[in-house]
Symmetry: C2
């Protein structure tokens, strides 16, 4: 059975769990559930029929560099054209420039399905979407008028260039230079690495947002400015002029995501336009990165969805050994059933967290409510890290469900793990997400965290009569998390950071329990979602205790880990 | 820095933690620690200098099928020759047939280092070693005299053929036929899949142990016999006669382990010799499989070692961001330090479990002691599953330590994960290991399990004064495990199986704590190993509680997981 778009799960979450109706109400423009369902259904049809069939070709026939130009995997051009012509690149972009102007939550639903279909191709419009938002927020009217219609139509693509060999997680160490040309433009010189979709043949032009230093800029992140550097210099009428001095030098050989060209890009006096103030590039870049972080979390969830479906399908057909059930298929073995249930329960939790984050972003954009802003900011690193860890863990279990066939590339299960592995690394490693959570996102004295915990406990109280076991487990875990949060607030950075990854995962587990409980309540005690919620609180949620114990260890034990201890 | 053989860690474990001196004493032939250290040192030199450099070529240039013959990766022939000529294939084989006749524990130490160096190549002598043991135990004198010297010298290789498309985990479903030829030999017809090193150009001959059915054999595993089927029919003087009717039909495209040819083998009336009684093939095969199971656990540990070293090296050189330490390298970031410490602590625990299992096997072989036999049998599935899960988890963390470079194949970190992934699947998936543990290995009424728990608690008591925190944590965890073991003993199979994987991992965690404590005691409170033990009990051991909670859930929640819950 081929991939089936997860429209039902997404719509159930939007309508019953993550409070999407508040977004519709805040818009007040008549957009309703039915229209949203119709849009998501159409997106699902496109993913099932056009995008998902490209998945394996992208892996087998990686994008390649030929005569200084990236040639994409077979079928990618047609798949991308269908996406662009359907208007999907600009799903959340302003109508003024040709976008659908649908809520971010709906855009994330689209990308969940696109990622499940073909992660390599999906990364292209995901990057473009991030650039659209960044230009919307930071570019001047002329740039907007020139670029946004092209990007939104999918005629041009957008990407971003941050990383340099010596400047990865530490963006402030970058060296690419920007010299004023005297006519308002800049001359950009330097080399960027790990540029996803830095070049391709999918679109007639590619606009790159590049971080660089002006002459005499201060050291570190305070001396970084942002520039828009197109592959072809646009003429104001929107047609293309000269080739810019920017070119792909090489493509990386990667563990996965072969269909997505990861380029080293060389800038030799390329013409660029400054976006945002001098030395103020980091703020603009953060717009794009924050956007991308939630988007990358969704990537993990989409791939996990696809891995789930493939494992379920295999397990429902493969016969091996005696089972207690009527079909004799391996999904009747308790251990296989356990894996399938845990995979599905985890995908649900991660998706709920990501959509809750998207909904908060929508509310923030529509109402300017500071509570929505704080909620979105707090949930973003969790959605990114837990979504991508879910992609990895679920793909890995998917391989295991397949037994020996899981290790054979033709099966497709291994590709999910190979593709999704990078999502825990790019747009800020998951360690950096966790440090962001216990650092910047707790810098409000814990207000955003405690607001979430209050909400979780209130909901658990309200559900306790109907779901005593699930609600009790969620409430108890939230209390443990509250204690750990208070501990974190009293610690110096070093101690927080040593427990950051464990704290983030525990927070995600508790949020997942909360959303499972909400789903169970919406469907009733005898529903399938209540059964899944029970498995979640029995088999996944209990891990929060060990995670929180680790989160509260501080860094003292690590101080005792000498190099000798590491190299015995 | 290239791979450094882990001789120090292995010798420390043998001498201080897993009771290897009892093996030396039981031999009573003068073999002493110094000689063992010398042998392991020489093996380490070979691995560092000759085998480890082959690792990447095996990945880049997979074994291929050309004109019906497997051509191996560049350099593999020379590497294998060095191994064979050093006598390493027969490290644990009887002197009578040319082997070194060293303890199994020492053989496992060799394979730990070989696996760290080049897993694809190591799998070849690992399979041969298993065949040597199987023939030793079950073949008649003529077969032994003909095959063992060749296998032990590494002139011929051994492999095994169990799996058929419809018969994977369920070996009893196999269909390959064996018809008596009337001269004591048999004619074998059928197809076997997933045959590791089923064919190659490393050796002049390859002997395959094949499971097949005699005419009118009973259904299921009771109707299976074992046959030795060589590629070339040997003449009694040891030279090679005619080509046998066995050939590789195709090789698999795998996620990793590219240097190891995984063949579909076709038998078209191939001549075979029966090993062991008619319809009694499973017992003989289990000799080989049990051997292989511990060996596969060691594979995981070896790869984890290599992944650890690579991550440590990278983290000690890469500068990125401000750190609290003097060097500014990323191993001074608390979260990176945490990953490195957890990786190392986990490798130590898994290696200790595997070597404790090997030591018990040695004692069993030397003394026939039923307690040693039961201990070895109980530890085997734990060593296999936890060793391979450690290989996967540590390789995965190794990628993460490398950041973006981890996803680039040239770095080598990704290859470890791709290679080692299969070890959780072959020789019985880890789910099957866990079912073996809670089924067959608890069928003694828990005697072997309780003997281990008694030993753990006694040691913890004895260490409590010097190491109150570590010993206290280990003792408490052992008590929790005792309770879960008693619960398991009272449950029907379905309920045990639903918690089997969690129970096995918890048992491994507690054993790991026990061995870390022993290491800390051997080195003293201020030693590096005590520091590592502290990190282990703080950051890894606490997970046992959630695992045991899951282990004791039974299968009830899974019964509620309808297909609807899986496919929302």
């Amino acid at each position: 059975m081929p991939y089936r778009a997860q429209t039902r799960d997404i719509l159930f979450l939007l309508e019953n769990v993550v409070g999407f109706d508040a977004v519709l109400a805040a818009r007040g423009d008549g957009l309703d559930r039915e229209t949203v369902a119709q849009v998501i259904g159409e997106a699902g049809n496109l993913c099932e029929g056009v995008i998902a069939p490209l998945q394996r070709a992208g892996d087998l026939h990686p994008a390649r560099l030929e005569n200084g130009q990236v040639v994409t995997s077979p079928g990618f051009r047609d798949g991308y054209r269908a996406l662009a012509e359907g208007g999907w690149v600009g799903i959340s972009a302003p109508e003024e420039f040709g976008g659908m102007e649908l809520p971010r939550s709906v855009g994330m639903a689209l990308h969940d399905m696109l990622a499940a279909s073909c992660l390599s191709l999906q990364l292209n419009p995901l990057m473009t979407q991030g650039q659209i938002h960044a230009l919307e927020a930071h570019a001047d009217a002329e740039i907007k008028a020139l670029y946004l219609p092209k990007l939104i139509a999918g005629d041009w693509a957008g990407t971003m260039g941050l990383t340099e060999p010596q400047a990865g997680s530490d963006v402030g160490a970058l060296r690419t230079r920007a010299e004023p040309n005297g006519d308002g433009t800049y001359s950009i010189t330097g080399q960027k690495i790990f540029i996803s979709w830095g070049d391709s043949d999918l679109t007639e032009n590619i606009a790159q947002l590049v971080l660089a230093r002006l002459p005499d800029a201060p050291a570190g992140t305070r001396g970084i400015s942002l520039f828009l550097v197109p592959k072809f210099l646009p003429i104001p009428d929107g047609s293309l002029g000269d080739r810019n001095a920017i070119r792909p030098v090489s493509l990386e050989h990667k563990m996965g995501l072969h269909g997505s060209p990861t380029a080293v890009m060389e800038f030799t006096g390329a013409t660029g336009w400054r976006i945002g103030p001098e030395n103020g590039g980091m703020a603009a870049m953060f717009t794009m990165m924050n956007d991308a972080r939630l988007g990358v979390g969704i990537q993990g969830i989409g791939v996990a969805e696809a891995a789930c479906q493939k494992a379920q399908e295999y397990a429902a057909e493969r016969r091996q050994g005696r089972t207690a059930g009527p079909d004799g298929t391996i999904d009747e073995h308790p251990d296989v059933r356990r894996m399938l249930a845990v995979m599905r329960a985890r995908v649900f939790a991660a998706r709920a967290i990501a959509l809750a984050c998207a909904t908060a972003l929508d509310l923030e954009a529509l109402t300017g409510d500071p509570a929505a802003r704080a909620r979105a900011a707090f949930l973003t690193p969790i959605a990114k890290a837990y979504g991508t860890e879910t992609g990895i863990a679920v793909s890995d279990m998917g391989i295991q469900v397949h037994g020996g066939m899981g290790f054979i590339e033709e099966t497709g299960a291994a590709q999910y793990l190979r593709d999704v592995r990078v999502t825990a690394i790019y747009e800020g490693t998951n360690g950096i997400q966790a440090m962001d959570l216990v650092g910047r996102k707790l810098a409000d004295g814990g207000e955003a965290a405690m607001a979430l915990l209050d909400e979780i406990e209130r909901a658990a109280e309200a559900a306790r009569a109907a779901f005593p076991v699930i609600a009790g487990a969620v409430w108890d875990a939230a209390e443990d998390l509250r204690e750990a949060t208070e501990w974190m607030l009293g610690q110096p950075a070093e101690a927080r950071f040593a427990g950051a990854v464990a704290y983030l995962e525990a927070f995600a587990l508790v949020l997942g329990g909360h959303f499972h409980l909400a789903a169970a309540r919406a469907e009733g005690t005898s529903g399938a979602r209540a059964a899944l919620a029970r498995t979640y609180v029995k088999r996944l949620l209990p891990r929060h205790a060990a995670l929180l114990a680790e989160a509260m260890q501080g860094a003292d034990d690590l101080a005792g880990i000498t190099d000798e201890a590491l190299c015995p």
